[in-house]
Symmetry: C2
Subunit: 575 residues, 2 copies
């Protein structure tokens, strides 16, 4: 242990994302500083976010998640020789003595323990999986999915043909990614169990999440929402049994517990640093904890949400890297700050791209913000361009000042571009009219002349002037929003060929359908009852909007239409 | 002509993008207004920007550029029945009487002429092709490429097998798109002639444009830059002859003249509206001309560049659509304004995506802004992710206040996302440190944990602290930047396998190469001459940056490295 020495200018605890990034940046800003990083695990700088893709077999070897693009492993030796600071693995920091400014380190390889002094300390201790709120048999076939070992073991079992059916408990971000790994790439019989009434509750509103559920079912995944696990045990033959609260039992070869994570703040508690209501370490905008000589970043700290002003727990590899830079520059004396977050998230689920930024409708309600929403279906390129793909976008904005609150996106189309741009708008506290002034890169292989964001902004303005966009849902759900559904006139303004190809089925006893194409509507207005509750149907929404304007000008008073049209309804209902 | 009537509340001249958009929006905002649109051509609302893709055969029928997504043609009847306003095609407005508030219309079908009164007039007269500055034979085989007829005729000739070789004169946006159409999709022998010393001079700096030229050559296109056409004539057999200023003559079956466009302001001149120095109609931020009852939008008006504050001519379909909305809302009494432009452009060229926003290095110099640049090669996804693709990004920023000025992007990777986000940053007058705070959507199928924009910002900050990023070029070009190139030490820090796979060739007499992998560098520093001019070589740039820091800390004084490494050099030099 001689080479460790007895003190460093900066000691970093944690070696995955924020820790190494802090070290690398510090060497650049303070070349003379002695920097030492202690990492409890034996692996360093593994791309945690790539684990589902390794598990899926898309990435051949786990090493690919830890090597540089030029093939050199990110080992302790690499950090010493290439990056210029000391890294020790299998080295657990067990306590911090803030008065003495020392940490106690235990080497997990031989149990040796020593003290190491610091001038500045950086805690990048990450997050750990939540405990299951039910009884779990002690077996290697029931595991969380947060560490390299979890991914490696899962893949080994699958490669050996020992997993026919897998149960994933928890339909959040990681759970859904793992569903794709299991069902899509290995072709395993896959069962997803989620206790909430929707998957991805932190990203999407219920009806948007339904598109994800529909896509999983289309890929033969069994999705059970509103279903809690009571107990997981094993039978005599070694089969794992997942007992559900509805009395059913699912037999399986493997269970992945994707029950979320919480900040690893054991050390922070031990040395009495201030924690926030989120349970995370509280930090200022220089990433400094309540002790000015101790900084913290990555999954163990809380973030300020720039839309609500509230503190939240948002464990994301991209934020951890950005924290690392801010910590290093703050230690080096720069006035660098971390600005807070708007919660930009994207994920791939089979043929769907899914994204979210800012507040969902649900989150806005929880935050007490009076919000309004618009939903539409858009192509990411002009319809005439061969590879055009669609996406459903839902925008949330504040009723009082038309401030943008959030965007959700689900579809095969290019959603990332819109999520990134919206993220920028949110950070600047922009309004709907700012959004309509967005200048996007336009050419047919990439976009339409007006971007979906322009259309969403225009829809929000139309809504503020009195147009009623209804949130899409199944026909039954839409009918149930009316006090007397039997009186609804479902006005289908599509062309005959479109209506034939995708007939609109009126739920039993929920009114009648009339088909009048938009082109004929002005001539046939007299066929419609001006006092009826009219729900307009088209394929994607724009014709319904046009129809609504025509009917409103003609004196109709109860005109509604479905944002995103039959396309959105179909994606939600699965047809 | 009875149905035309003798006056309207609003008369719109022009029926492609801005004109119809104005009409459609006006009906929504002012349902009672009588609106009449006159269009000189017989086609309406054709997607001009889709014409190269129609010419290429990617789009089956020209109708696809004019129909709605649900298959109804955007005819005069469509605008009347569906959108609710009057449209007349083949109707040329020949003069405007501002005192009487009338326009004179000539019906091109029968020559009939009449007056039509207006309360508000909208000029959306578009742009027309520049005349060739050389003599051109009068033949149907030498044509511009701006109108539907041009695209339709070209495609018909090609489909009949009558075009073996095509010459495209002008390597701007449209010229390059047409190169792809001709060479990529029809497999024609294609020759591009550009009088400037680079293609795409309005979008890219010379070395970035070289990647586009290299890509075209890789696709067997003959690219002649710095080459002017003297004359185009025909021989007796009907072969078209393109005579070049270097004495050569190119025989061809077809010539497309892509010499740019200029605003169509004949009517504006006739009625004495104020034109700007750009030759475009001058408009205020409500798109109002010097006559408060006359609005203008689309390709005939000038735009205020938000980075330079200057007026420019930027003919883009996306802007024309946005103008239309602003005009309609202004006429309807809303306080809607058009904010100006930052010049976001994207285009596809074979396997390259090309984009630009704000100022290039050249444009910054022309505008008198003291600018600095950084160039890097980035992957659009983590290297371990199967579909990761690279892109070269060049960022331009102001030396004095680190304000962002522009971004150029060339590569197979996802550039649109970065162009769009940068567009937003430019519009807000953001600085390099704002950019580093961008919150992007991160997941391995879409991005790395740190976005290329974060890296570019960090590079600019490093450069401000003294690190010298060199703009990539061929080895010869780089060597020529030194007063005594023979003394250069080219320090190749790549791994042996990388250097073997892509050897770095030192130009004759331009110094010597030393190969020391980054991992070994700290141990072998003594092998290097501290006083030498060291130019560091790596694959993409980050290792060179790390090497530069190590050398600087070791007291080396003349350390340089190539932004984007051998990857950028290879893309420029074509190996």
């Amino acid at each position: 242990m001689d080479n460790i020495g007895d003190r460093s200018d900066v000691v970093i605890v944690g070696g995955v994302a924020c820790g190494p990034k802090t070290g690398v940046t510090l060497v650049r800003r303070l070349p003379q500083a002695k920097i030492t990083l202690f990492q409890r695990e034996s692996m360093l700088s593994y791309g945690t976010c790539g684990m589902p893709y390794y598990a899926a077999g898309e990435i051949q070897s786990f090493d690919e998640l830890t090597i540089t693009p030029y093939g050199v492993p990110r080992s302790a030796d690499f950090f010493k020789r290439t990056k210029g600071f000391d890294v020790f693995t299998d080295a657990e920091v067990t306590s911090v003595n803030r008065a003495q400014k020392t940490v106690t380190v235990r080497m997990l390889t031989n149990g040796e323990t020593f003290e190491h002094g610091y001038d500045k300390l950086v805690l990048a201790t990450g997050a750990i999986p939540n405990d299951a709120p039910f009884e779990v048999a002690s077996t290697d076939r029931v595991r969380p999915f947060t560490r390299p070992d979890d991914a490696i073991r899962f893949r080994k079992l699958v490669e050996k043909g020992k997993v026919g059916r897998v149960v994933i408990v928890g339909g959040g971000f990681i759970g859904c990614e793992l569903v794709e790994a299991a069902a899509g790439l290995w072709g395993l019989e896959t069962v997803l169990i989620e206790k909430e009434d929707q998957v991805l509750p932190l990203l999407l509103d219920p009806e948007m999440a339904r598109m994800a559920e529909t896509e999983m079912k289309r890929q033969s995944v069994q999705v059970h929402t509103s279903t809690a696990v009571q107990k997981i045990d094993e039978d005599d033959s070694g089969t794992v049994l997942v007992h559900l609260d509805d009395g059913r039992t699912v037999e399986t070869d493997y269970v992945a517990l994707c029950l979320g994570v919480h900040p690893e703040v054991t050390l922070a508690r031990q040395c009495d640093l201030k924690l926030g209501d989120t349970g995370c370490l509280e930090v200022d905008n220089h990433m400094r904890t309540s002790d000015p000589d101790i900084y913290a970043g990555g999954d163990c700290v809380e973030s300020q949400h720039l839309v609500t002003g509230r503190k939240i727990f948002l464990p994301m590899g991209s934020l951890a890297n950005r924290h690392g830079r801010v910590i290093a520059e703050s230690i080096a004396g720069y006035e660098t700050t971390f600005p807070g977050v708007v919660g930009a998230c994207v994920m791939k689920l089979f043929d769907l791209n899914i994204g979210s930024v800012g507040l969902s409708e649900t989150a806005a309600a929880e935050a007490g913000v009076e919000a309004q929403v618009v939903t539409g279906v858009f192509m990411d390129k002009p319809d005439y361009y061969p590879e055009a793909a669609s996406m459903v976008l839902k925008m949330v904005y504040a009723v009082d000042d038309m401030r943008l609150l959030g965007l959700q996106a689900v579809g095969a189309g290019d959603i990332c571009r819109r999520i990134d741009v919206f993220s920028m708008f949110l950070r600047h506290g922009a309004t709907v009219s700012d959004l309509i002034d967005h200048e996007h890169g336009y050419a047919p292989p990439y976009a339409e002349a007006l971007d979906p964001l322009h259309h969403l902004a225009a829809m929000a303005q139309a809504q503020a002037r009195g147009t009623n966009f209804m949130t899409p849902g199944t026909p039954d759900e839409i009918a149930s929003r009316f006090s007397t559904p039997s009186d609804i006139v479902w006005l289908d303004v599509r062309e005959t060929e479109e209506a034939t190809a995708a007939p609109w089925t009126v739920p039993d006893g929920h009114g009648k359908t009339m088909s009048i194409s938009l082109n004929d509507l002005r001539d046939r207005l007299e066929e419609l009852d001006r006092s009826a509750n009219v729900v307009i149907i088209c394929r994607r929404g724009p014709r319904s909007y046009q129809t609504a304007l025509i009917l409103a000008q003609a004196g109709f008073e109860n005109v509604h239409f479905i944002g995103g049209g039959t396309t959105a309804v179909g994606k939600i209902a699965g047809y």
